[in-house]
């Protein structure tokens, strides 16, 4: 693989509280190749949004990076000052948040917000910035873009607003876009449009994307690779098709089974008993062990690190999870025939 655009090594994020430090992210590592779309999926509290916030340097105090390294194109950015990070945000890393209404300033027109961002980061004149803004709004699919430049955010619908936010994230031609639940607040028919816009524009411009979502369907549609997070750790990371079709980690298997499918109905959904542990009560060993149907002694004692298993990396002690799948797949096929 070529030099990764983004490399996160053993990232740890902590929140100091009166009752001790809570570790919300515990040893997350991943690489992102140029132009790649990495999905991060997990349930609420799994740490997927925090990972995004840590990369872009927007952790809410008292949260802080307690360990690990973040490298952007060979530069270590987690040690940079907030002022230096400010230059990175918007310019080199664009961000799309969940709620398009709160990520736009209601007092300025959409055009003012986009041209301001362009002029802050790129050496262009006001006129050029305006032309670029129109081109961008057209690219994200806003009809009559040059007129809509003078409209305020409240004059747009939810889907159109999210298109504006995507235009805003892309306007300084960033190398990396972090999209945190970009379609969660939208209806399905609009969601499909927004995913298409995000995917196409980032491919055209060669930007890498970290797509954070709780919706496995969105990941399956848009991402190249996926990282499944659980209790602040990566349970499984690998190419989307492999993880979705042949999940190895018992959590991923349960997660996939618990999603009702459109094609072919089942009588009962797979249910994972219990809920994800709270940050102050993460169990010893593998954090998933109390809910795991296959847990054995080792799972309760030692924490598994992600190891290569086929095309994916899996953090699990079970030999089945790590086994070579080629042999198993043929055995299955033989059994069915």
């Amino acid at each position: 693989m070529s030099v990764p655009l983004l490399s996160v090594r053993d990232l740890k994020v902590e929140f100091p509280t009166r009752r001790g430090r809570l570790r919300a992210i515990d040893g997350v590592s991943f690489d992102l190749a140029p132009g790649e779309v990495l999905g991060m999926v997990g349930e609420s509290g799994a740490g997927k949004s925090l990972t995004g916030a840590a990369v872009i340097g927007l952790l809410e105090p008292p949260g802080r990076i307690a360990g690990g390294e973040i490298w952007l194109q060979g530069e270590r950015i987690d040690v940079w000052t907030p002022k230096a990070m400010q230059k990175v945000r918007g310019k080199r890393i664009g961000m799309v948040f969940q709620d398009p209404l709160t990520s736009l300033n209601p007092l300025f027109t959409v055009g003012e917000q986009i041209t301001e961002t362009i002029m802050t980061h790129l050496p262009v004149s006001a006129r050029e910035a305006r032309d670029r803004a129109v081109a961008l709004l057209e690219a994200v699919g806003i009809p009559a873009a040059s007129k809509r430049l003078n409209a305020y955010p409240h004059q747009f619908s939810g889907g159109m607003r999210q298109r504006v936010v995507i235009a805003l994230a892309l306007c300084a031609e960033p190398e990396l876009v972090i999209a945190d639940e970009p379609t969660t607040a939208l209806d399905v028919s609009v969601q499909a449009q927004i995913i298409d816009v995000l995917k196409e524009l980032c491919r055209e411009r060669g930007a890498s994307v970290i797509l954070i979502t709780h919706d496995m369907g969105v990941i399956a549609e848009a991402a190249d690779r996926v990282a499944v997070m659980y209790s602040g750790r990566i349970a499984e990371i690998g190419p989307v098709a492999d993880v979705v079709k042949n999940p190895r980690h018992p959590y991923t298997t349960g997660l996939m089974g618990s999603i009702p499918a459109l094609a072919g109905s089942v009588d009962r959904l797979v249910q994972i008993p219990g809920a994800m542990p709270r940050l102050d009560a993460i169990p010893e060993g593998c954090p998933f062990n109390p809910r795991c149907p296959h847990a054995f002694d080792k799972c309760r004692e030692a924490r598994p690190e992600p190891v290569q298993a086929g095309s994916a990396k899996v953090a699990c002690w079970l030999p089945e999870a790590l086994a070579e799948r080629g042999a198993m797949a043929t055995a299955d096929a033989g059994g069915e025939a």
Partner: protein, 348 residues
């Protein structure tokens, strides 16, 4: 021979499944006045504005059946739910529960016994439980309100039973709602809804605030309870996959109208209305068949000024002059319904 087939079709239309309809909704409509205040209207020469949230919606639900209403935001599905349970008076139409008119002038006690049999589960389990009350008191409230148990001991036992029924510990009655996770709170809401021994539950997006693995737990629980008590559900959701999993019949709403009603199998196998097809195309493909789906066009228009004719025509690939001018009538057959000129003319 053919007359027998016709007869069978008519029978099927009247009773979509075996059993009598518990809920019958006829021509239900609701109009909201969204005008600006009187002074503004006078000064700015503005007229009154009305939002037709629900227009002429009719359906019936058989005993023990799950009927789902699905649609995007602003389609009026939650407004229908509120009217069916009596939280919102309709502007027009009839709601009959077990043959009793919900809206006509009635004796207070007859109404009361009817109300006991209908309960509702809300979307947000954080907002629908009183944070100052202990769980035991929350669940006991319907029992107390309807006078179902006399002494405190019996009530306490009943609350314990209900908690075990939804998979919680009877000792949880002593705790406050904030001590529970989202999924557990939704279980408490279900226990409260079951406390008055209802027959009909209206569930308004009961799992959309929950994570998928927890959603699976709640959906399984709701199905188990349905089997155990023979409950009838009106299930409101925007998630087609969830609806497919839960419902035996599905109604698709668009801008306040029911555009298609069909059995769950039929709707997903052969959707008839162009909007239903678009909605199915828009759902992310988890099976990863790689099939490039059709592009979804446009957004839901503003319900205050809906398009003329068929409200879906600006987004519809099959729209003609007639669709722009004329509101399509509902074509009902075999317990299914579709409201589309293209289907009527055989173009779809």
């Amino acid at each position: 021979m053919s007359s027998m087939a016709d007869e069978a079709a008519v029978m099927e239309l009247e009773t979509p499944q075996d059993g009598t309809p518990v809920v019958e909704v006829q021509g239900l409509s609701r109009v909201f006045d969204v005008s600006r205040p009187w002074l503004n209207r006078v000064l700015e020469r503005d007229t009154r504005h009305y939002l037709r949230a629900v227009q002429d919606v009719s359906f019936s639900i058989a005993r023990g059946e799950t009927f789902a209403l699905v649609g995007e935001s602003g389609s009026g599905k939650s407004t229908v739910a509120k009217m069916v349970v009596g939280l919102l008076p309709p502007s027009a139409g009839d709601i009959r529960i077990d043959g009793h008119d919900m809206l006509g002038a009635q004796q207070a006690d007859a109404m009361r016994s009817l109300r006991r049999r209908i309960q509702m589960i809300f979307q947000d389990p954080f907002a629908s439980l009183n944070p100052r009350w202990r769980v035991g008191r929350i669940i006991a409230e319907p029992i107390r309100a309807f006078g179902l148990e006399e002494d405190g001991k019996a009530m306490e036992r009943r609350v314990g039973e209900l908690l075990s029924l939804v998979g919680l510990d009877p000792r949880d009655a002593k705790k406050f709602p904030h001590e529970f996770s989202g999924g557990q709170r939704q279980r408490i809401c279900i226990a409260r809804a079951l406390a008055s021994k209802p027959e009909f539950l209206v569930c308004d997006e009961p799992t959309s605030a929950l994570d998928v693995s927890v959603q699976a737990q709640i959906l399984n629980l709701m199905r188990d309870l349905q089997d155990e008590f023979g409950l009838t559900y009106l299930f409101i959701s925007h998630d087609l996959a969830v609806v497919r999993h839960m419902a035996s019949r599905i109604g698709v709403m668009y801008l306040g109208r029911l555009v298609e009603v069909a059995g769950s199998q039929e709707l997903f196998a052969s959707p008839r209305h162009p909007y239903t097809r678009m909605l199915l195309d828009a759902v992310p493909d988890l099976a990863m068949t790689g099939a490039r789906r059709k592009k979804v066009e446009g957004e839901i228009p503003n319900p205050i000024s809906p398009p003329s004719g068929c409200a879906f025509h600006p987004r519809c690939p099959l729209a003609t002059e007639r669709c722009r001018a004329e509101q399509p009538e509902a074509l009902a057959a075999n317990g299914a319904l579709v409201r589309c000129h293209a289907v009527e003319e055989g173009r779809a």
